[in-house]
């Protein structure tokens, strides 16, 4: 009776182990297809053929957003700190789009090396806080926030506890 249970248990353990191994191998083999977007450095280093559609993700470079011509087209640069790729997009931008904000764009490179996007999605980071706290963090220079803060009232209401407690605040783009 006990030995049968032990046998079933070891069979189960072996099965789960084999399954986990198979899953790990499969996922690492398909890694290139599972990533949702590629960073600017990858795009610059890899020789991606023209007109091949892919997603480019990164931060919108500060001071790079410009409206051109008809007013509906914008150009900006997507950066990861090391490299930047110019992007042209015609359409409506999401509410969260602003300089310093993470974005994922879908399109292809043209002959001039400009990424022509037909879709721009905003990517927000994992930080959640009230506007006053964000304001206070910026004021104290512990964190360089991104873009304008909507509805930020007084920085006096600053929650200093929050500032001290938040060691992990960084806007660095870890992807």
């Amino acid at each position: 009776m006990r030995s049968r249970k032990k046998k079933r248990l070891s069979l189960l353990a072996c099965g789960m182990l084999a399954l986990a191994g198979a899953a790990a191998l499969t996922l690492s083999a398909f890694e290139d297809n599972i990533v949702f977007f590629h960073g600017p450095t990858e795009v610059v280093q890899k020789d991606i053929p023209l007109d091949r559609r892919f997603r480019l993700g990164g931060l919108v470079q500060e001071g790079s957003v410009e409206k051109v011509g008809d007013g509906a087209t914008v150009t900006f640069k997507v950066t990861d700190g090391a490299n930047a790729v110019p992007v042209r997009y015609r359409g409506i931008l999401p509410d969260l789009f602003r300089e310093g904000q993470g974005v994922v764009t879908h399109g292809s490179l043209n002959r001039q090396g400009v990424f022509v996007a037909d879709e721009v999605l905003a990517k927000h980071d994992e930080n959640y806080m009230p506007p006053e706290v964000a304001q206070a963090l910026k004021k104290s220079g512990r964190w360089e926030g991104d873009g304008p803060i909507p509805g930020a009232a007084e920085a006096d209401a600053a929650d200093t506890d929050a500032i001290n407690g938040k060691s992990g605040l960084d806007t660095s783009y870890t992807n």
């Binding site: 189960l12 949702f36 994992e126 909507p150 929050a162 870890t174 992807n175």
Partner: protein, 268 residues
């Protein structure tokens, strides 16, 4: 064999809680408290969610988080529960474990659906899209299909025992998906942001927003525990009713009637 003499006693101690009568009494005693605690946690959590400050970037849309995140946590927690219960059912043939696994799966499917729908509603205003095929969103959709498959396969066999075993194996195989969901945002580039609460160092979420979130999560967990007990109780009472019906039919002398009634816990 010398172990044979000790075996029955050992079995009895292991299966102490497998006694359906004892389980029903325990469930009846704990359920009122569970429901009360659940109502309290959800009430406090909801008040907290609506009075919490707006987010510095997302504004009031951030309130979707107080439903979306607990639903996502419970979707994974429920699947983990099912996997553990299935392992116990397969290895130790504990009858209540089987019951728990099958009772939990529609609840888990509901949590997953709630997570997907609220996530979609949140994604449109924030990201600019209802849905993308990134690793996090896709793996959660796979979790939803696993739940549906588990529910379907448990009832797909004429022989209830075979159905239960097939469902338990499916649940264990599908468990590979749970760590994939959890770490998808770390392993690959995704549109979905990385974890805010369960990360190394301080949570990246302000305390005024963290406590309503955790209270809601507690409320969701208590709801899961209570609804699981109710569903298991319901199934046990249904089995008992079927047995009584079969016994009374047999007493009236209808041949063949006894064959349809399944003896409860024949395996234990």
């Amino acid at each position: 064999m010398s172990t044979q003499a000790a075996a029955p006693r050992k079995t009895r101690s292991l299966h102490r809680f497998a006694n359906p009568g004892r389980f029903l009494r325990l469930a009846d005693a704990t359920l009122p408290w569970l429901w009360m605690a659940c109502a309290l946690a959800l009430a406090v959590g909801l008040v907290g969610a609506f009075t919490a400050p707006v987010d510095y970037q997302q504004g009031a849309s951030v309130r979707i988080m107080y439903v979306h995140v607990p639903a996502a946590w419970l979707a994974m927690f429920t699947y983990t529960t099912i996997a553990v219960a299935s392992a116990v059912a397969l290895v130790w043939r504990h009858p209540l474990a089987d019951l728990a696994a099958r009772a939990a799966s529609p609840v888990g499917a509901s949590f997953t659906l709630l997570c997907l729908v609220t996530g979609s509603l949140w994604g449109k205003p924030m990201w600019g899209t209802w849905w993308v095929w990134d690793a996090r969103l896709t793996s959660v959709l796979v979790l939803f299909f696993l739940y549906l498959g588990h529910m379907a396969i448990a009832n797909a066999f004429d022989d209830a025992g075979r159905g239960r075993r097939a469902a338990a194996i499916l649940a264990l195989v599908g468990f590979v998906n749970v760590p994939i969901i959890k770490f998808s945002v770390d392993w690959w580039n995704t549109l979905h942001q990385t974890a805010s609460v369960s990360r190394i160092g301080a949570p990246a979420i302000h305390s005024s927003m963290l406590w309503p979130l955790l209270t809601m999560a507690l409320g969701f967990t208590l709801f899961f525990a209570a609804i699981l007990l109710v569903r298991m109780k319901n199934e046990l009472l249904g089995q008992r009713l079927r047995n009584l019906r079969a016994a009374s039919l047999q007493r009236r002398g209808e041949p063949g009637a006894a064959a349809t009634g399944q003896p409860a816990h024949a395996e234990s």
